[in-house]
Point group: D2
Chain length 117, copies 4
Amino acid sequence: MSDLLQLRELVRQFVDERDWDQFHTPKNLASALTVEAAELLEHFQWLEHGRLEELGPDKLVEVRHEMADVLVYLVRLADKLDLDLMAAVQEKMVLNRAKYPAELVRGDARKYYEYKK
Amino acid sequence: MSDLLQLRELVRQFVDERDWDQFHTPKNLASALTVEAAELLEHFQWLEHGRLEELGPDKLVEVRHEMADVLVYLVRLADKLDLDLMAAVQEKMVLNRAKYPAELVRGDARKYYEYKK
Amino acid sequence: MSDLLQLRELVRQFVDERDWDQFHTPKNLASALTVEAAELLEHFQWLEHGRLEELGPDKLVEVRHEMADVLVYLVRLADKLDLDLMAAVQEKMVLNRAKYPAELVRGDARKYYEYKK
Amino acid sequence: MSDLLQLRELVRQFVDERDWDQFHTPKNLASALTVEAAELLEHFQWLEHGRLEELGPDKLVEVRHEMADVLVYLVRLADKLDLDLMAAVQEKMVLNRAKYPAELVRGDARKYYEYKK
């Protein structure tokens, strides 16, 4: 079984044991995912450059846990929406390649619509 | 190769072709991840119940794309921090089981520290 | 002196006493603002309807504090960008009135670009 | 009338003309506020230092508009929760002064609970 399907099962079991499915509307899960992403960001927000070396080992453990929470909610949301995350990324990367042709955007961090200006 | 490692390679190649690694400090990636999570949330924010049926097929495609973006940035951040996402979730789920014992929290959505009150 | 200018002075003094201006780049402040907004959202995320009555008095105090944090960072960011927040809202509301004509959007929560479809 | 009360009236009128109060549960407003904060952050996310000079005049106009949106939702949420934002900030700043004594935290960006370690 693939990683993402294995995670889906792990999360399903955790939720079912706690009877938490009732709280897991897609809206609530999208909200929880955003909150976890922001908790992850919080560890970086005052760092001057935001590099790994500035974090320190204790913070890195916390960052790891916040990233796990993000993935848990993402996998759960995909489950509730009956989406295949792996296929979604593959599809999106095709679109990204079209939006950001390598020769046009090399070394440039602007959004695709800013090139049209 | 596992899903998550496959995605890591896909993203690495995309970034390298565009010389975008220079923008990918962990701080910037955590920020981009939060922004994508919020864009996902935006599709749900005015829905009354926030269920799948209220979204409609066009919005569902957009939701799918935003979820892909979240996963791309998460996988990229894990790569830059040299973390194993799969191991991180497995470790975090052990902690979650300890924090939220099924018999104590069944059907209850409070945070773990609220039970102590 | 207006409310917002009074807050600006209050925050300036607090920051200067702590020599924290060095951390207050616009980017870091935008990040801190987003983190505080997400902390606010966290109090609502599992509520069924998300109404005031579901919060309870303890949570309402916490919500009040998170809202204060959001305003503090917003006022600080405006100060660092040398923007007049009051003028910004008045200007934006004129744009919103043009984007969302009352007779067209009454009782409808879609984004302005969805009407064109 | 103070700035914040004036804004409250401006937003109330805008919402009433559009019959949008039905969408404005505190939960939905907290969500919309977070989404606007993230849209603000997006303008800064790939900047190297995140300073004003790196933004450019066009982006600054967009930043100004996003900040206006944040304030509009904050004022609206305060209205729906029947909170006085000005009093909330004054109260929170007293707590912040106790949590972060100037002589202890000068030039240090850690969170208050990290000092205890």
